[in-house]
């Protein structure tokens, strides 16, 4: 369970204070897949970065399972948080082979020792996992991951997240750089993993269609504040047309 209290982020540019996130309180339960909508500059990406630890808050606290994690660095939070970035290149190391990328992902919450971890059995395990994607990538495990398309990389990044302990999945416009078919594949996959693993997930998106179709809770942000927070049952009663009107 994630709980944030009075979370605030103020950026200072040229002496002007810009309040990106304005004392937000929010609790997210396990198995909750939260969609965050909002116009540009509404603070949704900042909120995601505060949760991931790549930004430090100006005020407020973040709790994970009753334990305060506000002062934990990004790499320390990675022990239980996985991320899917807007840029498909950001979630993988291009020059490293697919299998090396998976090896690193399998050690997200562990220490990386001076042992040769890319064993035959590890490779078989990855091969099996990758074959479930049905993208034919299981024969390309030794290719640099950079030689694959953005959609393939984004799908692999998601799969990599499941290689190690994951309690929270943060997704920042994960499909905005993908073609419609790849986008749908990534969303179906994410949705499936969240359900199967019973984890919490937060996705920032500009696609109202995705927002309408996926997730079981929806939040709208404006000027750093939460202005709408709909539960699963409320979300189901909202039509796509009504959602478009939120932004009118």
């Amino acid at each position: 369970m994630i709980r944030i209290e009075g979370l605030t982020k103020i950026f200072n540019s040229n002496g002007n204070d810009i309040v990106a996130v304005d004392s937000i309180d929010l609790t997210i339960q396990p198995a909750e897949f939260v969609i965050i909508l909002g116009t540009n500059g509404s603070g949704k990406s900042t909120l995601l970065n505060l949760l991931a630890g790549s930004l430090a808050p100006t005020a407020g606290s973040i709790f994970f399972d009753q334990k305060e994690i506000t002062s934990l660095k990004e790499y320390q939070r990675s022990a239980f948080i996985a991320r899917l970035f807007q840029n498909p290149l950001a979630g993988t190391a291009s020059e490293l082979s697919v299998i090396d990328n998976f090896r690193l992902a399998a050690l997200r919450s562990k220490s990386r020792k001076l042992i040769l971890g890319n064993t035959k059995s590890f490779e078989e395990k990855v091969k099996h996992k990758v074959s479930l994607l049905q993208l034919g990538l299981e024969s390309k495990l030794h290719q640099p991951i950079g030689s694959l398309s953005g959609g393939q990389r984004q799908a692999l990044t998601l799969l990599m997240a499941t290689m190690d302990n994951m309690q929270l999945l943060l997704m920042d416009e994960p499909t905005s750089a993908l073609d419609p078919r790849s986008a749908e594949r990534v969303m179906e996959l994410a949705s499936r993993f969240i359900k199967e693993l019973g984890i919490s997930a937060i996705m920032v998106t500009h696609s109202l269609k995705e927002a309408h179709r996926y997730g079981n809770r929806i939040i709208q942000m404006d000027q750093g504040r939460i202005i709408k927070d709909l539960s699963d049952s409320e979300k189901k009663q909202i039509s796509l047309q009504q959602m478009i009107e939120w932004f009118a």
């Binding site: 990675s78 022990a79 991320r83 950001a90 979630g91 490293l96 050690l107 990386r112």
Partner: protein, 283 residues
């Protein structure tokens, strides 16, 4: 013939330097020029230790540790103070000049009549330098294939990914710079034992030798159109040897020694230019 043979042996002695530059430039994507200082540091430690009759087997770990400390200094300045790595390297390199003078006590230490890694036989020296380089190639390749090494390689490749994978990238960069400069210091140690003296100015511009080796190695890889971790590392060492041979040929052809650094710079420039042009044609 003797001069060419000596050049090959020297190229092998510079293999550790080439591997150090390979690590910072190709693996970590950091332009580090602590090199000039840490190379001399390795040489200074070696000269003083051998003069004090420290056994040769102890001299290498001492030089290695000295270089590692220099790398840690650059790494800490770069990551903890958030200073550009190039500037961090320059600062440590300049500071090391004084440190090296303190260690040596004077600007030149001859090592005549002292036992060292190398002997009087050029064939034995070649074999020793070759085995030394071979061991380093195998160790570095093995290291980069471990779980730790995968994280190392990813660090220079995608910072966002590595942070999301739970890697403390600052610690990783410091470790990488330490290892790279430790290797550089090993080269300094080998060269001092090979040439029989240490000099405070022996490291001036040495970074370009490592750079030339790595860039030559890269061009071999492009020509071969094959790439693997081991091949990349072997080619960096091959680049080191080829570069020394090129310089030796230039000297044999009558190049005045004072023009050596100019020619060195021109060789490196022309390789980079050729790589750029041939790469542009293909894309």
């Amino acid at each position: 013939m003797d001069a060419l043979f000596a050049a090959i042996t020297q190229g092998l002695a510079y293999a550790a330097l080439a591997l150090g530059i390979f690590l910072t430039l190709k693996i970590f994507n950091i332009p580090d020029i602590t090199t000039d200082g840490s190379y001399t540091l390795g040489g200074a430690i070696t000269a003083v230790a051998l003069s004090a009759h420290v056994p040769v087997v102890w001299v290498f770990p001492m030089a290695f540790a000295g270089g590692a400390l220099a790398g840690v200094a650059t790494g800490v300045i770069h990551t903890r103070l958030n200073i550009n790595p190039l500037l961090a390297g320059i600062l440590v390199m300049i500071a090391l000049y004084s440190v090296n003078l303190f260690i040596m006590g004077r600007s030149n230490i001859p090592l005549t009549d002292l036992s060292s890694f190398f002997s009087d036989s050029s064939v034995t020296n070649f074999i020793k330098a070759f085995v030394f380089a071979l061991i380093l190639i195998l160790l570095i390749t093995l290291l980069l294939k471990t779980d730790f090494g995968i994280a190392m390689r990813a660090s220079g490749n995608s910072e966002s990914m590595v942070l999301a994978m739970g890697v403390n990238i600052e610690k990783m960069k410091i470790t990488g710079l330490a290892l790279a400069n430790a290797l550089t210091a090993l080269s300094g140690s080998l060269m001092v034992q090979y040439q029989g003296f240490a000099d405070i100015n022996m490291g001036v511009g040495i970074v370009i030798s490592g750079l030339a080796a790595v860039i030559l190695g890269e061009s071999f890889i492009r020509l071969a159109k094959k790439s693997s971790l081991l091949l990349n590392i072997v080619m960096a060492v091959a680049g080191s040897v080829v570069f020394r041979v090129l310089l030796a040929v230039a000297l044999l052809a009558g190049l005045p020694p004072q023009a050596l650094k100019l020619v060195t710079a021109l060789i490196v420039l022309s390789i980079i230019a050729v790589l750029k042009i041939s790469f542009r044609e293909r894309t």
